[in-house]
C-alpha cells in the first residue's frame, strides 16, 4: 500500500475527557468529575505518546491539538509535559500549529497566559451562540459578555483564534442567523467553525427530540437556506468555506484538521482518542479505551489502546473520499489512483458533474457548493 499519508501531513491529537458540565448536544467522550490528578494524567499521556513515537520515528510534526472534553481544564504544566515529550520524539515543523479548545469562562481565561507559555499558539473557543437564550438552551455555562471578553484576551495572547458557533437552532429564522453571523464576523477571529445543529444519538437533545420536546427545529429547506446564506456572508467577509463547516482566509485554515481531511497520519492519545498511523505501508486505525478510569490504568500498564484495526485498501479509499470531499480544494486524482487503482478507474464522475454536484479540474475533483449540501448521499454514491 502506498504511503500517500505524507501528502496529508502528520499531527498529534490529545484528548482531555473532563468537563464541568455535559452539554445537551454533545456526543463527544466527556465526563464530569470533581478532581483530576494532573500529575498522574500527564505521565500517562506522555507514556502513550512515547509508545507511538517509537513507531513513527523521524517524522515531522505539523500540528498538535488538545481536544475534549474541556482541555482548558488541563493544568498548563500538563500541557507542557505533553508538548515537551512530543518534541523529544518528533521534529516540529517550523510553523507548528498547537491548538487548545477552551470555554470562554473566566476560570479558563485566567489560564491562557500559562497555556501560551507552555507553547500553545492557537485557541478554539466554544462560543456556540451570541444570544443569551440560545446559550442557555444549549446548556452553556457562559454568557455573551464572557464570550466577547474571552475573545479579546485570546486575540492578545495567541497568534491565532477560532471560535465555534452552532446555527439552525430552535426557532432561529434566516434573518436572525444572518444578523448574528455578521456580528460574529465583526468580532474578527481569523477562523470560524459554523456547525448546523445536529441531533446526535446518545445526547440529551436526542432524547428530547425523540420525546417530541425539541420544537421549532429548522425544516430541511430552511436548513439548506441557512447553509447557503452562511456561505455567501462568509465569502463576502473574506472567510470562504474551505471545508463543509469551516471558514478562514487563505493561510488561516486549521492545519491540524487539514491533516484529517487530506488523509494524513495522526496519532491519537487519551481516552477514546482515534488515530490513523501508517507503518511500513500498512495504515491502521487506533482507538483508545473510552472510560477515563479504564484508560489510565491500561496506559500505565503499557497501552491505552482498545483496538488497532489494519485498514484494507477499500477502507483507506473510502476515508480518503469521504474526508476529501468535505474540502473545497477537493481530492487529487493521482493520489486516488495510488491508493486504489481499480476503484479510481471505476469512479464514475460524469453523471454527477452533469448534475452540477461535482467539479473536476487540473487533476483534482471535489464537491460543488450544491454537492456539499448533499454530501452524505453524494459520497455514498461514489463509494
Amino acid at each position: 500500500m502506498a504511503e500517500t499519508w505524507r501528502d496529508g501531513g502528520f499531527g498529534l491529537y490529545v484528548h482531555w475527557p473532563f468537563c464541568e458540565a455535559k452539554c445537551p448536544y454533545c456526543d463527544f467522550n466527556s465526563h464530569v468529575v470533581s478532581h483530576v490528578d494532573q500529575t498522574r494524567w500527564a505521565a500517562a499521556l506522555v507514556s502513550e505518546l512515547v509508545r507511538y513515537g517509537r513507531q513513527t520515528e523521524g517524522r515531522v510534526l505539523r500540528s498538535i491539538y488538545f481536544g475534549g472534553g474541556t482541555p482548558s481544564l488541563m493544568a498548563p504544566e500538563t500541557v507542557r509535559a505533553v508538548l515537551d515529550a512530543s518534541r523529544d520524539h518528533w521534529a516540529w515543523a517550523n510553523d507548528i500549529e498547537i491548538t487548545l479548545e477552551a470555554n470562554p469562562r473566566s476560570v479558563e481565561i485566567n489560564k491562557f497566559e500559562g497555556f501560551a507559555m507552555a507553547g500553545v499558539n492557537r485557541v478554539s473557543l466554544g462560543v456556540q451562540a451570541l444570544r443569551p437564550d440560545d446559550l442557555r438552551r444549549l446548556g452553556r455555562l457562559h454568557d455573551v459578555d464572557d464570550a466577547v471578553g474571552a475573545l479579546d484576551i485570546a486575540k492578545s495572547t495567541f497568534n491565532r483564534v477560532n471560535f465555534d458557533l452552532i446555527y439552525g437552532r430552535q426557532g432561529q429564522s434566516l434573518t436572525d442567523w444572518e444578523v448574528e453571523l455578521r456580528e460574529a464576523l465583526d468580532l474578527a477571529a481569523d477562523h470560524l467553525s459554523l456547525y448546523q445543529l445536529t441531533i446526535e444519538e446518545g445526547t440529551a437533545f436526542w432524547d428530547r427530540a425523540q420525546a417530541g420536546k425539541l420544537r421549532d427545529l429548522p425544516s430541511e429547506d430552511l436548513g439548506a437556506d441557512l447553509y447557503l446564506a452562511t456561505q455567501e456572508i462568509c465569502e463576502a467577509a473574506g472567510k470562504p468555506a474551505y471545508e463543509v463547516s469551516n471558514h478562514a482566509g487563505p493561510g488561516d485554515e486549521s492545519r491540524h484538521n487539514l491533516v484529517y481531511w487530506r488523509g494524513g497520519d495522526y496519532v491519537g492519545i487519551g481516552p477514546g482518542a482515534h488515530g490513523r498511523v501508517t507503518v511500513n505501508g500498512q495504515r491502521s486505525a487506533t482507538v483508545a479505551r473510552r472510560a477515563p478510569g479504564d484508560w489510565i490504568k491500561a496506559a500505565e500498564a503499557g497501552s491505552g489502546d482498545l483496538e488497532i484495526e489494519r485498514l484494507a485498501t477499500q477502507d483507506v479509499w473510502a476515508e480518503y473520499l469521504m474526508m476529501g470531499l468535505r474540502l473545497s480544494e477537493g481530492l487529487d486524482l493521482d493520489r486516488a489512483r495510488e491508493i486504489d487503482p481499480a476503484r479510481a478507474e471505476a469512479l464514475n464522475l460524469d453523471p454527477l458533474v452533469d448534475l452540477g454536484l461535482i467539479w473536476r479540474a487540473e487533476g483534482r475533483f471535489g464537491a460543488t457548493q450544491q454537492g456539499r449540501l448533499l454530501l452524505n448521499t453524494l459520497t455514498a454514491e461514489l463509494l
Binding site: 429547506d221 439548506a224 463543509v244 484538521n257
Partner: protein
C-alpha cells in the same frame, strides 16, 4: 385389507378458522392414531407455511382405526383438502375420492361464502353430509340460528347436527359415531377385478421422489406391481404401498375402498396427472375413470431476484418447487427495470403468495414481485387471437381490433351493516350485480366482476371495509370485450416496464393519478427532481414531481469521527442496493407492488 362395509372415506368442508384442522387433530388424537407425545397442532399440514397461515395447500390423508359402539372396528380415511378458492378445482378432485363429508360450521359465525362453494362441490360429488357445529362452548355460539341457516342457505337437514368444541374435545365421540352410522361405505369394489385406482394427488418428497395418493376402486395394489397410468401412459414399478397414520406406514396391499399412497420412483409431479386411472400393466381395467382437466393458471406476475447474482439460484429453486406443483407455470422474462427473472402463472393470489413465500423462506432468495395480471385475449385487425400474459408485451394499439378480459362470478356473504360498502367496492371495480338475497341478518350478493380488478387488492379491501366479516368466493365465467388500454408509468421520463398495467379506459386517469401519488411517496428523494407520469400511448394522463433532496450533510467530521461516519455511509450505500436502478433513479423494491394498492 378391510372389507368395504368397515370402511368410511370422508372429507371435511369448512371455512378458514372454523376449525377443520383442529377437528382433524382431535379425531386423530381420540382414536389413539398418534401417541400423545407426538401430538402437535395441525398434524396434517406438513409445510410451515400451511401451519402458519392455518391453511391447507396440498391434499393430505390420514387413516384412523375406530372401534365403534357396535363393537366392530372401522377404518376411517380422511382426505384433508385445501379450503381456499384458489384451489377450488383441487377440492373438487379430492371430493371424488370419498363418499361423504363433514360440514364444519363455526356456531358463532355461521355459513361463509367459502363453505358454500365447497359444500356445493361435495353435493355435486354425491356426498352424504353430516353437519357439525363447532365452538358451541363459546358464549357467542348460536347453534339454533346456525342450524336454521344451514337449512335455509344450503338446504340440508341439520336437525341431527353434531354439536362440538374441537378445542376442548366435547362432542368428538359423537362425530366418530356419525361418520360410521351416517356416512356410506364405498358402494362398489371387487378385489378380483383388474386394478382400477384413482390418483387423488401427488407430492414430491426429497428423499422418496413423487408420492401418489390413491383411492382403490377395484383390484389390489401391492409392492412390486408394474403399474400403468392410463392417461399419461407412464409405466412404473411400485416400490412401496402404505397408508398415513399420519406418518407414512407401509402395508402389504391396498384393496377396494382403501386410500393410501404409492411410491414408484416417479421423478416429478409433472409426470403424473391428478385424476388419472392407475391399473396394472399386464391386466388392465377396461374403462378408465372420467378424469379431470388439469388446472390452469389464471394470475400471472413477474418474480425477479433482488440481487441479480441470485438468478441461477432462483432458477434452481423454481424448478424444485415446480417438481411438487404442476399447476404453477414459469418462463424466463427479461425486464429493462428488473433484469432477469421469471413470468409465473398461479391458480390465484394465495397460490402466488405461497410460492413467493416458499422461494424466499425455504430457498433464501429475496424477490421483487411485479403487479399481478390476468390473461387478456387480443384480437388483431387480421382476425387472429393472441394471449397477453404481460402488459409489457402489449403490441401497438393500431394493430389491435379489440381486447377481451376474463370475468368471474363472485359470491360475497356479509353482515347487513357492511353491505353498502361491499356494493360500493364492487361497483368501483366495474362489477355487475347478479343477485342480492338476505338470510338471517346476513346478505349474500353475487357479482360479475373483471378478474383483473380482483387479482390485486380486492380481497384486502373487502376485508378492510367489512372489518373481516365478509367471505368471498369466485369462479371463472369466461371472457368479455371491454375498453381496455395499456397504461405506462414513466419515472424521470423513462417508461418502467415492470409498472405497466392494463386498465379500463374510464378508470385510467384515476388509477394513473393514484399510481403517481403513491410512487411519489415510495421513491426516496434523489439529488435531482424526478417527474413521475402515467401515460396511455404517447399521452400523459397524470403527473407528479418528486422534488430534489435539499440537504444531507454531516456538520462535523474530524479524525475521531472517521470510522463511525464511514460505517454510516456504507450502511447508506447498502440501503441503495435494496433498490432497483432505473436510469438514474433508484426505486425501492416494494414500490413495484405497493404502488398498485388503492386506498380509497
Amino acid at each position: 385389507m378391510t372389507d368395504l362395509a368397515h370402511i368410511r372415506n370422508f372429507s371435511i368442508v369448512a371455512h378458514i378458522d372454523h376449525g377443520k384442522s383442529t377437528l382433524a387433530d382431535r379425531l386423530i388424537q381420540l382414536t389413539g392414531t398418534v401417541a400423545e407425545r407426538d401430538m402437535q397442532e395441525q398434524l396434517l399440514d406438513s409445510m410451515d407455511i400451511e401451519r402458519e397461515r392455518g391453511i391447507t395447500i396440498k391434499a393430505n390423508t390420514v387413516r384412523i382405526e375406530y372401534p365403534a359402539q357396535d363393537g366392530q372396528t372401522y377404518v376411517l380415511n380422511l382426505i384433508d383438502t385445501p379450503g381456499h378458492v384458489d384451489f377450488a378445482y383441487e377440492v373438487a378432485r379430492s371430493m371424488h375420492a370419498v363418499e361423504g363429508s363433514l360440514l364444519v360450521v363455526d356456531a358463532t359465525q355461521g355459513v361463509e361464502a367459502q363453505t358454500l362453494a365447497n359444500v356445493y362441490t361435495a353435493i355435486d360429488a354425491d356426498h352424504e353430509i353430516v353437519p357439525v357445529l363447532n365452538k358451541v362452548d363459546l358464549p357467542a355460539a348460536e347453534p339454533d340460528r346456525v342450524k336454521e341457516q344451514i337449512e335455509d342457505v344450503i338446504g340440508i337437514d341439520s336437525q341431527d347436527a353434531c354439536l362440538i368444541s374441537a378445542k376442548t374435545g366435547v362432542g368428538i365421540p359423537d362425530v366418530l359415531e356419525a361418520i360410521v352410522k351416517r356416512l356410506p361405505a364405498p358402494s362398489e369394489g371387487d378385489r378380483n377385478k383388474p386394478l382400477k385406482a384413482m390418483l387423488v394427488d401427488s407430492k414430491y418428497d426429497q428423499y422418496l421422489g413423487v408420492i401418489c395418493i390413491v383411492r382403490i376402486i377395484d383390484g389390489v395394489l401391492k409392492k412390486g406391481d408394474r403399474i400403468r397410468m392410463m392417461k399419461t401412459g407412464g409405466t412404473y414399478d411400485v416400490d412401496d404401498v402404505g397408508v398415513y397414520r399420519p406418518a407414512m406406514t407401509n402395508v402389504k396391499e391396498l384393496g377396494p375402498g382403501e386410500i393410501g399412497y404409492l411410491n414408484a420412483s416417479i421423478k416429478q409431479v409433472r409426470d403424473t396427472r391428478v385424476g388419472d386411472t392407475i391399473t396394472h400393466e399386464k391386466k388392465q381395467c377396461e374403462t378408465p375413470l372420467p378424469g379431470f382437466k388439469p388446472s390452469v393458471p389464471v394470475v400471472f406476475c413477474g418474480l425477479f431476484p433482488v440481487d441479480a447474482n441470485d438468478f441461477e439460484d432462483m432458477r434452481d429453486a423454481i424448478e424444485k418447487l415446480a417438481l411438487n406443483d404442476a399447476s404453477f407455470t414459469f418462463e424466463m422474462e427479461t425486464s429493462a427495470a428488473l433484469g432477469f427473472g421469471f413470468r409465473c402463472g398461479f391458480l390465484g393470489l394465495l397460490h402466488l403468495e405461497v410460492i413467493r413465500d416458499r422461494l424466499e423462506r425455504e430457498y433464501g432468495i429475496e424477490l421483487i414481485t411485479t403487479a399481478p395480471s390476468v390473461i387478456y385475449h387480443l384480437y388483431t385487425k387480421d382476425g387472429e387471437r393472441r394471449d397477453l400474459h404481460n402488459p409489457a408485451d402489449m403490441p401497438d394499439m393500431s394493430t389491435v381490433d379489440h381486447i377481451e378480459e376474463p370475468r368471474i362470478k363472485a359470491t360475497i356473504m356479509v353482515p347487513d351493516e357492511y353491505l353498502g360498502d361491499v356494493l360500493k367496492l364492487c361497483q368501483e371495480r366495474r362489477g355487475l350485480q347478479l343477485d342480492l338475497t338476505y338470510v338471517g341478518g346476513r346478505a349474500m350478493t353475487v357479482y360479475d366482476l373483471p378478474l383483473n380488478e380482483v387479482v390485486f387488492d380486492f380481497y384486502d379491501r373487502l376485508k378492510s371495509v367489512t372489518k373481516g366479516y365478509a367471505s368471498f368466493d369466485y369462479e371463472m365465467i369466461g371472457y368479455r370485450e371491454d375498453n381496455l388500454v395499456k397504461m405506462s408509468i414513466l419515472v424521470n421520463d423513462e417508461p418502467v416496464d415492470a409498472l405497466a398495467m392494463m386498465v379500463h379506459r374510464e378508470r385510467a386517469e384515476m388509477r394513473g393519478r393514484a399510481m403517481c401519488e403513491k410512487l411519489k411517496e415510495l421513491i426516496p428523494r434523489h439529488m435531482f427532481k424526478i417527474p413521475i407520469q402515467a401515460a396511455i400511448g404517447g399521452k400523459v394522463i397524470a403527473r407528479e414531481t418528486l422534488s430534489a433532496m435539499r440537504k444531507d450533510v454531516t456538520a462535523k467530521c474530524y479524525g475521531g469521527d472517521a470510522s463511525r461516519k464511514k460505517k454510516l455511509l456504507e450502511k447508506q450505500k447498502a440501503g441503495k442496493k435494496k433498490m432497483r436502478q432505473f436510469g438514474k433513479v433508484e426505486i425501492p423494491q416494494e414500490a413495484f407492488i405497493s404502488a398498485l394498492k388503492m386506498d380509497s
